[in-house]
C-alpha cells in the first residue's frame, strides 16, 4: 500500500499499461509507449483480447478523445478547452502518461509564470563560478521533454502573461529551443509535444496571440451530456468529499441529487429537460463542481444545524447563491424559472417554497 496522498496516473495504472503494451501490436509513432489505438482504449476503457478489463478514465464523447490523440500523433500541439470542472487536467495527465509513460513534465500557468519556467533558467552559483555552460543551465520541464521526446503539459495557458506565452512559438513551430547565451540550441526528439489546458470562461485573461493559437489544435471538453452521467459524477464526488470532511449527515438521497442536477442542467441549457419550455440562462457557469459544492453545503447545514437529513431548505440557500451571480439580471432569470417551471412541477413544492423564502 502506498503512503502517498496522490499517485501519478502512470503509477496508479501501471498494471493497465503493462497489459495494454502486451496486447498492443499496432504501429506506434516514434517514442510513443503505446499505439494511438491503445491510448484511446486506455482513456475510454475496454476489454483486451486476453479478457483484461481497462477502466474508463474519461466518460463522455469517444470522438473527442480520438481527435485529441490524433492531434498528438501529428506534430500539432493540443489545447484542451472547457469550462471549469470538465476534466481538462485529468485528460491531459492521462494522455501524457499513456503516450510517454510520464505525466510529470508539468508547467503550471499562473500570472507569475516566468520565461524560465517555459524555457530554461540558470544555476547562478555555478554560472558565477564556472561561467556560462550547459551544466549551469536549469532546464524547464518543456526543455527536458524536448530532449527526451516526451509529452510536456502546460496548465492554464491563458493565465500566463502574453510575452511568456509567445516564447512557445519557436518551440512549437521550429521544434527547437535556442540558447543564445551558449550559441547553441536544443532540438526536440521525435515524440515531443505539448498538451495545454485553458479555461473557456477566462479566454479574455491573456488571450493567446493568433500566431500561437495557430500552432494548437483545439478540443473543447463539454459538460456531461446526459442527466444520468452528471448525477453519477455528483453522487460519487459528494460521497467521497463527505467522507473526508467526516460530516455526520446521511448521504443525500439519489432523488435529491437528481433534482439538483436537473435544475442546474435546465438553467445551464436554457431548456427544460422535457425539451418543451425554453428558459433564460443565468450568467454563471453552473458547472458540475458547483452542483457538488451546493450539495456539500446543504449537507453541512443539515448536519450541524438541521436534523442530519438533507431537506429542501438546506439546499435553497446555497442554490440561490450559486445561480444568482449578477444581482439584477440573474435574479429575474431565477424568479422566472421559479414561477414558470419549479412551481408547476410535481414533487417540487417544498423546493419552491424554500427558494421563495430565501
Amino acid at each position: 500500500m502506498t503512503t502517498l496522498l496522490r499517485e501519478h496516473a502512470e503509477q496508479q495504472f501501471a498494471v493497465e499499461f503493462d497489459e495494454l503494451a502486451q496486447a498492443d501490436n499496432r504501429s506506434r509513432p516514434p517514442n510513443w509507449k503505446l499505439s494511438p489505438w491503445a491510448v484511446a482504449t486506455y482513456l475510454l476503457g475496454g476489454v483486451l483480447p486476453n479478457g483484461y478489463q481497462i477502466i474508463p478514465k474519461y466518460i463522455g464523447d469517444r470522438r473527442l478523445m480520438e481527435v485529441a490523440i490524433a492531434t498528438l500523433a501529428t506534430d500539432r500541439a493540443l489545447l484542451l478547452l472547457g469550462v471549469p470542472g470538465t476534466a481538462k487536467t485529468w485528460v491531459s495527465e492521462h494522455l501524457a502518461a499513456a503516450v510517454s509513460g510520464d505525466s510529470t513534465a508539468l508547467v503550471q500557468g499562473t500570472a507569475g509564470t516566468s520565461e524560465e519556467a517555459v524555457r530554461y533558467g540558470w544555476n547562478y552559483a555555478r554560472l558565477l563560478a564556472e561561467g556560462p555552460s550547459l551544466e549551469a543551465l536549469v532546464p524547464s520541464p518543456i526543455m527536458r521533454s524536448m530532449e527526451m521526446g516526451k509529452i510536456a503539459r502546460l496548465e492554464e495557458l491563458t493565465r500566463i502573461p502574453a510575452d511568456v506565452q509567445d516564447a512557445l512559438i519557436t518551440v512549437l513551430s521550429e521544434k527547437t529551443l535556442p540558447i543564445p547565451e551558449l550559441n547553441t540550441e536544443i532540438q526536440a526528439q521525435k515524440g515531443f509535444n505539448i498538451i495545454a489546458t485553458a479555461n473557456d470562461r477566462d479566454r479574455g485573461v491573456n488571450e493567446p496571440s493568433s500566431a500561437l493559437k495557430r500552432r494548437f489544435n483545439t478540443v473543447v471538453l463539454p459538460l456531461p451530456a446526459t442527466l444520468d452521467e452528471e448525477v453519477s459524477i455528483v453522487q460519487q464526488r459528494v460521497e467521497s468529499i463527505g467522507k473526508t470532511l467526516e460530516l455526520p449527515a446521511e448521504p443525500p438521497a439519489l432523488e435529491e441529487i437528481r433534482r439538483l442536477v436537473t435544475l442546474f442542467r435546465e438553467l445551464r441549457n436554457g431548456l427544460t429537460l422535457d425539451g418543451k419550455t425554453k428558459i433564460k440562462s443565468p450568467s454563471g457557469t453552473l458547472s458540475v463542481a458547483e452542483a457538488i459544492s451546493v450539495m456539500n453545503n446543504g449537507l453541512a447545514l443539515a448536519a450541524h444545524f438541521g436534523d442530519g437529513r438533507l431537506h429542501a431548505q438546506d439546499l435553497a440557500a446555497g442554490l440561490v447563491g450559486a445561480v444568482i451571480k449578477d444581482p439584477v439580471q440573474d435574479r429575474i432569470v431565477w424568479q422566472e424559472y421559479l414561477e414558470t417551471v419549479v412551481k408547476e412541477r410535481d414533487g417540487w413544492k417544498d423546493l419552491y417554497r424554500a427558494c421563495r423564502e430565501v
Binding site: 494511438p36 480520438e66 481527435v67 500523433a73 489545447l79 478547452l81 493568433s210 483545439t218 436554457g270 422566472e336
Partner: protein
C-alpha cells in the same frame, strides 16, 4: 448470367455520386440499346424535358392526383443521382429510357401505400429529422449500401463506395459484388417492417424487363436500387407475375417536373432515403480526386469570406488530422465526420458555431433547381387558377381596386386567398387602407405581374394547393424566426389567411422565443393580439389552451420584468411604455383572469412606489389601481400630493398629472380633495416654471371631453373660495322669492297644495 441474357443489372444507391459515376462508366462500356430506370412510368412522357437546356437539377418528378393535389409523390433528382445520369446518357445517345417501377397510378390507389408517401407525412418526418442532427441508421432496405458502410465502420455510404471502387479496377465488378452482397443480405436479414407492395413492385419491374426483351433489345441496362437487384436477377415465369399484378385498382394521376432544392433533398420522399449532405455529395461528384484537400480548401475559403482566420497552413494541418483520425478509426479514407472534426479542431479553435455555417453553406449547400418553360402546369398553378375561376377574380395585368365585404362568403374567401398569397410572398394584391369604420371591409389593389408566375412555381415546393403551400411555408418561417414581433405579426397574418394548421407551431415557437426575450416592450406588444384571440376565439379550430398557456407565460414574464424595464426611461421611452401599459392593461381586463389581474395589481403597487419612476407611468399606475379599487381616494390623494409636492421638479409633476388624468378628468370633478391638490399646485407654480408647463398641462386637458372641460371651467370661475364653500349649506337666501317658486314646483311634481282634498 448466361450469355444470351440481355440484362445488365446496375444496383445503385439513390443519390449516391459514387454510384452515379460507376453507372456512367458502366453505360459507356456497355453501349446499351435500352435503359430501364427505377422510377414511375406515369412520368415517362416527361423524360425528354430532362434534356432541355432550361432544366437544371436539383429537380423532382411530381406525381399527384389532379383532384386531390395534396396526395402526391416526389422523385427528386440531383446531378449526382445515378438515375439522372442514366437518363442523361440515354437522351444524349438517343437510347430509349423507360421507367420500370410500379406506376403511381396503381400505388396511390392501393390503400396502405399512401401514408408514407403523402407529402404531409414526409414533410413532418423530415422536419423532425432535420432538427435532430445525428442521423439515424438508415433502414436496411432503403439504403442497404449505407447500412453495410455503417457495419464496416464508415459514417457515410459514399466514402465506403469510394473505398470499394479504389480497390477494384473494373467498375462492373463492383455491381457484381453488390449483387452478391444484396443476395446474401436479402437471404439472411429479415428486414424491418416489410415495405408494402414490394413484391408487386418487383413483379412489375420484371414485367417491364420482359417487354423490353420481347422488343428485341440486346443490351438492356437496368438501373435500380441495390436492394431490388437479386429479385430482378431470378426471373420467375411471366404468368406468375401477371397473376400478381392482375386486377390492381387504378386512379388517374398527373405528372410534372418541379424545381427542387438541396435542403429538400435531405428529406425522405419518393425514393425513400433522404441524404444528409447534398452539398458534400455534389463536391464528391465535381471533384472525384483528392476529396479532403478540395473540401477543406473550400471550408477555408468560406471561413475567410466570413472574416474568420483560415490559413493555407491550417488547411494542411486539417488534412493531416483528418487522415490520422481516419486511420485511428481503422479506415482508409476520412469521411465527412472526420473532416468536420478536423475542421473544428484546427480552424475553429474548438468552437462549434462556424460548423453550423459550414453545414448550411457547404454540407447542405442550398441551391434551387430550374425547369424548362415547356413543363406541364404545376398543381399549385392549377389550384390558383381554379380558385380564381371559382371566386370570379381573374388575373389581370392592369391595376384594379377591389373592395371586399367580409360578411359575404365569396368576398371572405377572396380575402383569404389574397392573404395566403401574401404569406407566400406573391404580392398579387396590395392591402389598402379602408375608409370608414368597421372591420368587415377590406380594400385591395390588384395587379398580376409575370414575375409572380415564377414565384408561384417556386412556391410549389411548399405544397400543391394554396392552403398547403401557405401552411408549410409559414411553418418554415415560424421555425426560423427569432423575433417576437415578427411572430406576432405572422399570427395576425395567419388569422387573416385562416390557416389554423399553423397555429400550434406558431404558439410553441412564440412561447420559446418569449422565454428568452428580455425585451419587455416586445413582450408587451406580443400579448394584446393573443389576448384578443383568446377572448374572442376568432380563429377556427385554434387550440385555445395553447394560446392561454402562452398568454399566461407572457403575463408572468412581463410582471416580473416590468419594474426593471420601467426604470430610467426618458420622456420618449416613457411615452411609448405608457401606451403599451394601457393596451396591456386593457388586454388583461379583457381576459378577466383573476390570477393574472392579481399579479398585475401587485406589480402596479410596486411601480407606484418605485423611486425614480417616470411621472407618466407612476401617474397612470395610480389611476389604474384606483379604477380597480386597489387604492381608495385617501391613498390616491396621498400619492398625488407626494408626486406634485414642491420638492419635485415641476416637469416631472406635470408628467405625473398627465399620466394620471390622461383620457378623462371626471375623477377630478368627483373628488374634491384631488381637485384641491391640483389647484394648489398650479396656483403655486412660479411664472418661469408655469410657462413651459402650460402646453403639457393643456395637452392633458385636451384629452378630456368637452362636457368635462366645461364643468371644470365653471367650477374654476367660482374661484377658490366658493369652491371651498360649495359643499356647505347655504342659508342666506330670500325666503319670499323662494316661496314664489313653490306652487309651480308642486304642480310639476303633481301635488296640488291649493286643493289638498282634491277636485
Amino acid at each position: 448470367m448466361t450469355s444470351d441474357n440481355p440484362f445488365t443489372l446496375l444496383g445503385i444507391r439513390h443519390h449516391g455520386p459514387g454510384s452515379a459515376r460507376s453507372v456512367r462508366h458502366a453505360l459507356e462500356e456497355l453501349q446499351p440499346d435500352m435503359i430501364l430506370v427505377e422510377g414511375p412510368p406515369d412520368a415517362e412522357d416527361l423524360l425528354p424535358l430532362a434534356g432541355q437546356p432550361g432544366m437544371r437539377p436539383p429537380v423532382a418528378l411530381l406525381i399527384y392526383l389532379p383532384d386531390q393535389p395534396q396526395r402526391a409523390v416526389y422523385y427528386p433528382f440531383a446531378e449526382f443521382s445515378p438515375e439522372w445520369q442514366a437518363i442523361q446518357y440515354g437522351l444524349r445517345h438517343a437510347v430509349p429510357v423507360r421507367f420500370m417501377d410500379l406506376p403511381q397510378a396503381q400505388r396511390l390507389a392501393l390503400p396502405e401505400d399512401s401514408p408514407p408517401d403523402t407529402p404531409d407525412a414526409t414533410w413532418q418526418d423530415a422536419q423532425e429529422d432535420a432538427a435532430d442532427p445525428p442521423p439515424p441508421t438508415p433502414l436496411l432496405r432503403q439504403d442497404p449500401l449505407s447500412w453495410v458502410a455503417h457495419v464496416t465502420g464508415y459514417g457515410d455510404g459514399e466514402r465506403w463506395w469510394e473505398h470499394l471502387i479504389e480497390q477494384r479496377q473494373d467498375n462492373r465488378d463492383v455491381f457484381q459484388a453488390i449483387l452478391e452482397l444484396m443476395t446474401a443480405l436479402r437471404a439472411e436479414a429479415t428486414p424491418e417492417p416489410p415495405e408494402p407492395h414490394e413484391a408487386l413492385r418487383e413483379a412489375f419491374m420484371r414485367k417491364v424487363m420482359r417487354q423490353a426483351q420481347r422488343q428485341g433489345c440486346e443490351r438492356i441496362a437496368v438501373v435500380c436500387g441495390a436492394w431490388h437487384v437479386p429479385a430482378l436477377l431470378r426471373m420467375p415465369s411471366a404468368k406468375e407475375d401477371d397473376a400478381l399484378l392482375k386486377g390492381l385498382p387504378k386512379v388517374k394521376v398527373t405528372a410534372t417536373w418541379v424545381p427542387w432544392t438541396h435542403g429538400r433533398l435531405t428529406y425522405a420522399s419518393g425514393y425513400g432515403a433522404g441524404i444528409e449532405a447534398p452539398g458534400f455529395y455534389q463536391h464528391l461528384w465535381d471533384t472525384p480526386e483528392r476529396v479532403s484537400v478540395g473540401w477543406l480548401s473550400r471550408v477555408a475559403q468560406l471561413l475567410r469570406e466570413h472574416d474568420l482566420n483560415a490559413s493555407t497552413a491550417s488547411v494542411i494541418e486539417a488534412v493531416r488530422l483528418a487522415d490520422t483520425l481516419a486511420s485511428l478509426r481503422g479506415r482508409a479514407l476520412p469521411d465527412l465526420s472526420d473532416l468536420n472534426e478536423a475542421t473544428q479542431a484546427v480552424f475553429c479553435a474548438g468552437d462549434s458555431l462556424p460548423l453550423r455555417l459550414i453545414h448550411e453553406q457547404l454540407t447542405v449547400g442550398e441551391c434551387l433547381g430550374q425547369i424548362p418553360e415547356a413543363t406541364p402546369m404545376l398543381p399549385l398553378q392549377q389550384d390558383l387558377l381554379r380558385l380564381q375561376k371559382r371566386l370570379r377574380l381573374p388575373a389581370e395585368a392592369s391595376q384594379r381596386v377591389l373592395e371586399l365585404d367580409l360578411r359575404k362568403s365569396n368576398d371572405l374567401e377572396r380575402s383569404q386567398m389574397l392573404h395566403r398569397l401574401h404569406l407566400l410572398s406573391i404580392p398579387w394584391g396590395q392591402g389598402e387602407r379602408t375608409s370608414g369604420k368597421g372591420t368587415f371591409k377590406e380594400n385591395w389593389r390588384l395587379q398580376w405581374k409575370p414575375e409572380l408566375a415564377v414565384a408561384l412555381i417556386e412556391a410549389n415546393v411548399w405544397g400543391n394547393t394554396l392552403v398547403d403551400a401557405a401552411t408549410a411555408f409559414t411553418q418554415d418561417r415560424v421555425r426560423h424566426s427569432e423575433q417576437l414581433t415578427e411572430l406576432t405579426h405572422l399570427t395576425e397574418q395567419v388569422l387573416l389567411a385562416d390557416l389554423p394548421a399553423t397555429m400550434g407551431e406558431l404558439m410553441t415557437r412564440l412561447q420559446n422565443v418569449a422565454a428568452v426575450t428580455s425585451d419587455i416592450p416586445h413582450l408587451l406588444e406580443a400579448l394584446p393580439p393573443l389576448a384578443n384571440i383568446l377572448r374572442y376565439g376568432n380563429v377556427r379550430q385554434t387550440d385555445t389552451g395553447l394560446v392561454a398557456q402562452v398568454v399566461n407565460g407572457l403575463a408572468t414574464r412581463i410582471c416580473i420584468g416590468l419594474p426593471a424595464a420601467c426604470s430610467a426611461l426618458d420622456d420618449e421611452a416613457a411615452q411609448s411604455m405608457f401606451s403599451r401599459l394601457l393596451t396591456f392593461n386593457n388586454a388583461l381586463t379583457l381576459l378577466q383572469d383573476d390570477q393574472q389581474l392579481q399579479q398585475w395589481r401587485a406589480v402596479l403597487q410596486r411601480l407606484v412606489r418605485q423611486q425614480g419612476l417616470h411621472g407618466l407611468l407612476a401617474g397612470r399606475g395610480c389611476r389604474l389601481l384606483f379604477e380597480q379599487n386597489e387604492l381608495d381616494v385617501a391613498a390616491v390623494e396621498e400619492y398625488m400630493a407626494l408626486a406634485i409636492s414642491m420638492a419635485n421638479e415641476p416637469h416631472s409633476a406635470a408628467s405625473w398629472i398627465e399620466g394620471f388624468l390622461h383620457g378623462s378628468g371626471l375623477i377630478l370633478l368627483h373628488h374634491e380633495g384631488l381637485w384641491r391638490i391640483l389647484d394648489h399646485w398650479v396656483m403655486n407654480l412660479r411664472e418661469d416654471a408655469f410657462l413651459p408647463l402650460l402646453p403639457l398641462i393643456r395637452r392633458t386637458f385636451a384629452t378630456f371631453s368637452a362636457a368635462e372641460r366645461r364643468q371644470m371651467g365653471a367650477r374654476l370661475q367660482q374661484g377658490p373660495q366658493q369652491l371651498l364653500d360649495s359643499r356647505n349649506d347655504v342659508d342666506d337666501f330670500e325666503e319670499t322669492r323662494g316661496n314664489g317658486v313653490l306652487p309651480l314646483v308642486m304642480q310639476l311634481l303633481g301635488l296640488n297644495e291649493e286643493n289638498p282634498s282634491g277636485a
